[in-house]
């Protein structure tokens, strides 16, 4: 029992320590994004553009694929349920609202956390073990400015864009079932989708994606910057980065839903 309590205590101390370090990185990155440019030290736009290409454009196919099939699945499941009350056409609105509020931002974030979060940790982690981060510091160059800020900016821009892609493609998946299985007319299906949707559904989803972007970037970069123990350490940190990002995405999503729709 004492051992168990000790384990819990140590975990709590570690969690507090890591949270403090991530918070420190966050404060520093905010400085480099919002204050430093006015002091003549902007982030390199080339690095941001490179990251946007890597993070955003590179993730479009997989985000589209996952959301399209999820849209089909959701449409099939809901139309099956709605059939019992004779209102299968309500499926269009249900799919639309589900994607804009929840599934679009959530699935896009999960895909990006798995694909991009892992890549960020692996890249920065490799730089850490090969002393590239130390070399930057010795040249009086800030790793947060050169490595973390461009990735955070790129994610802040690209994850909401990917969320829009996820929303549209997910609804297209629902349309496939509505049109070819339920034989609903195309224009009527689109009308049904937007009839049940309000503007709040869209902006709350996009706001969530912004929070997810911050979380993925911070966890990915922090895990990379704190890699210890060579190649094996990079592997461990990469796994931790993906697992922690997904856990925090789920927790933040839950908190946002509670805030937007219940409080």
């Amino acid at each position: 029992m004492r051992e168990f309590a000790g384990k819990i205590g140590r975990s709590a101390i570690n969690f507090t320590k890591h949270t403090g370090s991530v918070w420190k990185i966050f404060r520093e990155v905010l400085y480099w994004i919002f204050i430093a440019p006015f002091k003549g030290q902007p982030c390199k736009m080339k690095y941001v553009a490179d990251q946007m290409n890597l993070i955003g454009i590179g993730s479009v196919p997989i985000v589209a694929l996952v959301n399209f099939f999820f849209g089909i699945t959701l449409a099939m499941l809901t139309s099956y349920q709605l059939k019992q009350v004779g209102s299968q056409e309500l499926m269009a609105g249900l799919v639309g609202v589900s994607f804009t509020r929840e599934l679009g931002p959530f699935l896009a974030a999960i895909v990006v956390a798995s694909r991009v979060g892992a890549a960020i940790t692996a890249e920065i982690g490799t730089m850490t073990v090969s002393e590239e981060i130390d070399a930057l510091e010795t040249m009086a160059l800030k790793p947060i400015r050169f490595l973390v800020a461009p990735r955070l900016i790129a994610l802040l821009i690209m994850l909401p864009c990917l969320t829009v892609v996820a929303n549209v493609v997910g609804m297209a998946g629902g349309y496939v079932i509505g049109r070819f299985n339920l034989h609903i007319d195309s224009s009527f299906y689109i009308k049904l989708t937007f009839d049940y949707m309000v503007f709040k559904d869209i902006w709350t989803g996009l706001l969530k994606s912004v929070a997810f972007a911050v979380m993925i970037a911070l966890i990915g970069c922090y895990q990379g910057l704190t890699v210890r123990g060579g190649a094996a350490g990079v592997g461990i940190s990469t796994t931790q980065s993906v697992v922690q990002s997904i856990i925090f995405i789920i927790i933040i999503d839950c908190l946002f839903n509670a805030w937007f729709y219940f409080i």
Binding site: T126, S130, E131, E132, A135, L136, M139, A140, L141
Partner: protein, 265 residues
């Protein structure tokens, strides 16, 4: 005038004293070689001298300025006075050689891009890598990486260049080329060099002054001839690469070895 001074520096890691009152003085323009066996505290001392690690106690002066108590932005100002060559080169793998060498110039000067391009070519030519501007670090051999990293380290014409095991992992000919570059920088450009190494041949080739570290202390310091003729048995054992001395664990008795395993010393 001394350009680098280390005064009574101590550092403890996990109750283990890695540095135990190190004192060292490096004069302007000289090449100081710090030697010692694995785990003697050389790398820790180097990290403290470049401000990457804070000592438990003691002081470090670079060009007359005490650096231990400086904050991060003040330390950045001091960092511009020195360059550092890491053991593996530590070139940024996502950038070409030219971009690597240009990085400190673009970030710390207001020079025109054309001037920077010319300076990059000059620096790469200085280390024998003219024409390699567009190569990526992954396309280079170990020796070429180190030479490119040296070009980056001297990009801002620093007063001091620190070297961490410059010859490690290189064949003797390439290691000699690196040694020649270190000597050229010192003799022709008047740069001060601080080299951490345990390669004897290289150390005696380049050193104006040598310091031998043992168990976190400087046990001998002086000109290469003084070190060669040192009466200290560990120094003789170290430069001779011999097992015949009391300080080496290979000579420990079986009882001592078992005791060290049990007590974790």
């Amino acid at each position: 005038m001394s350009i680098l001074e280390v005064k009574d520096v101590q550092k403890v890691f996990d109750n283990r004293k890695v540095l135990d009152g190190v004192n060292l003085t490096v004069e302007k323009g000289e090449t100081m070689v710090i030697m010692g066996g694995s785990g003697c505290g050389k790398s820790t001392l180097l990290k403290i001298m470049i401000g990457q690690l804070k000592p438990g106690s003691g002081e470090v002066f670079i060009d007359g300025e005490e650096i231990v108590h400086l904050n991060d932005s003040e330390m950045d100002r001091v960092r511009l006075k020195f360059g550092m060559l890491y053991q593996g080169g530590a070139l940024l793998n996502s950038l070409t050689l030219a971009q690597n060498v240009a990085l400190p110039l673009t970030e710390h000067t207001h020079l025109d891009k054309k001037i920077i391009d010319i300076m990059v070519k000059m620096k790469l030519a200085q280390v024998g890598l003219a024409g390699f501007e567009k190569k990526m670090p992954s396309e280079l051999s170990g020796g070429m990486k180190k030479r490119a990293a040296l070009a980056r380290a001297i990009a801002l014409d620093p007063s001091i260049v620190f070297y961490d095991e410059p010859g490690a992992g290189l064949d003797p000919i390439v290691a000699a080329v690196i040694d020649r570059l270190i000597m050229d920088l010192s003799k022709k450009l008047g740069m001060t060099s601080v080299v951490v190494t345990h390669e004897m041949k290289s150390a005696f080739r380049i050193a104006d002054k040598m310091a031998v570290l043992f168990k976190g202390r400087v046990i001998a310091c002086g000109a290469p001839d003084e070190i060669k003729n040192s009466a200290n048995p560990y120094v003789q054992q170290f430069i001779g690469g011999s097992l015949e001395a009391a300080s080496v664990s290979a000579k420990d008795s079986t009882e001592e070895y078992i005791k060290s395993l049990v007590e974790g010393n």
